[in-house]
Amino acid sequence: MRRFLSLAILSLFVLPLCTIAAEECFDCHDKYKKSNHGKLDCVVCHNDIKDLPHADKLAKPACTSCHAEAAKSFQASVHSDKGFKCSGCHNVHTPARDTKTCASCHSRVVHKTLPSAQKHLAELECSGCHARAVQGRISVKVDSKQSMAKDTLDKDGNKFVDVGEWKDFLVHSYSMVKDSYRIKRVYSVAGSAHNIGAKAISCNGCHVENKVFRKATLEVNAAGQHFSMGLDPHSVIPRLPMTDLYGLTSHGKSGVLCQDCHVSQERIDDGVCARCHAKVYGVYKGTKHAKGTAAYCTDCHDPHKVKTYRELGTGERISVCARCHTNYMEKHRWLPHAELHFMYLECSTCHSPQSEKGMVFNVSVGGEEGKRKLTYDDVAAAFGSRKRARNLIDVNGDGRIVSSEIVPFFEDLKKKTQGKVGIEGSIVVTGVYHDYSQVQKRDKVCATCHSEDAPFYQSMYLVLPEEKGFSYMPVKGTVLSTVPSSLGVNFFLLGETKMRWSDVRALLGARGEARRELLQELGFRWVDIAGIFLCLAALFLVCIHIILRVVFRR
């Protein structure tokens, strides 16, 4: 140990004496004087030179001996993976300014896939998005010619301006201060150029998760006043509501990229949507909504929503129209039970007559814990087999449910589930026709829907749960009307409630099995037949009485 220490102390004094000074090297290599490493002795890197003149071929110096950290970062980078060395960008014998920049190699990158590319490229360095583990900060400066109280920005007095406060401030500035203020935003990032990843940071990185710009400061200079406070970075980096869930949206699923629609910072106009939705736009562009730009596609459709329009419930669909048509309830005062109708109908049902409509009937069971949708386990438990629900109801397997099949099925289900079984019907618009201009042509006739001629009558389905997914059994509304009322059938429309001459004619014209089926499907319409018959009978008796009075002169 003592020997090792002595050797170390000796080497400290003796080795420098053995070093070759840079000046000696410059005698031959004076062009390297201005290099980035010019202040170092050449032998620091070329440590295989022991004497001058040195050998013709020297070993390659190891950058890692001094730049260990940078080298470590670089080894993990995409450039290292591609086989680049330090010398690929750095020439140690030339001035620092000659170090290659990103643009030296990537001169033709146009960032086609970057939404609002111009804005991003103007504000950020390449490493801001492409380097790993980037840290950045935002500095926002507000210069105003008018004085400004602190609480104009920091309303709650916590010395921090949140997104809401910032928005309020912008509105205030726009309306009150007008042109006499200026806001400057500086986005600075300290990313290592050595650690460039294979992929750039996603939109989410800044616009949702806030990975880069964790801090923002706000500095205000207003008519001599000067103050600063913290600022929520999302005040100046718009939070994108859906980027994290975008993959789940119908656009995301079908491979539409952000930049396919966000071609600029401007609002997306209908032309962007029309590029893919040409057929729909072809209908829409001539309608009342589109004329005079009363409504853009995106006013009604949020392309960032995970739920597609098809998946929206009645209430959600109504709320889309109600954004503008806020007084829709008032306008529908003429409609009997308007609130009730709006529980089951969406605006398109009536206001877009050419839309494709259908009706679905979901089965619910109610127990102590409340009403819920029927599950396949309920069906299996009730019927004691793992048969498909559609086979349990469609006994003869003809793919069509008749009254003699539906009634026993629901009666058995009710008995065996020992709960309240119900059928919930709702009308759904399966294919929206984007022309809502025919608003004045509505006829306000109940029989448009409350009759067998209703447009959705041609596609009515009873939804039954299966082991995987659901069965959609085509069914006639009149068949459902034969279901006993004790089952809590929660719908009231269809042909069952309005008697028509055509019903009577069909009944009189039918024979045998067809008549039996029609009679079963009469539902509560039998009341009208019985009622009219009794009224006629009363009139008949009155007539007989009158005749007898005339005959007997009384």
Partner: protein, 203 residues
Amino acid sequence: MKKNETDLHPFLIRIWHWANALIVFVLIVTGADLRFTDVDIFSDYGFTVNLHKYAGYLLAVSFLFWIAVYQIIGGFTRHYVLSFKDMRSIPAQTTYYIHGHFRGGTNPFKASPSSRFNALQKLAYSFIMFIAMPLIIATGIVFGNIMDFYALISATGGIRVLDIIHVIVGYIFVIYLIVHLYMATLGKHVFSHTKAMITGREE
């Protein structure tokens, strides 16, 4: 007042009767328009619905007025509740309408201010006023305010049960009206009863 005339119908009852008649007429016409899609009396559907709805509310007011009037003038039980004596008179009254009337027999019942209705009339009127009227008014009010009574409707079998009760009672009213209008012609003269309901005096 002539010698052989009696004051049969009090003034307030006559007012109620004709007001009620008008309301019931409106309700039957609008009801038929709403019920039968092949019938198109009023072209404005919203107008028909509202007319039916508000005429229904008037019917409820008229019903309360009828009860109030009888509280004032008295004789409610006497006129409408079937007594044992009334029950015994049913066969004779029925026979009169079916047979005796044509043979020139006299009506076994003689109306008086203390007892205006015969047993069959009492049966019909009490059924209409104590059962049918409250039922159609109650279902009508629920029908007019479905969302307010949604829990009650669900508990009692849904809207179609409510609808069917309302419609059945509606038909009962129509049948009653046919018979009532005809029976009104069975007085001394064809319009005797009608006239009595206007002047209050019956021969």
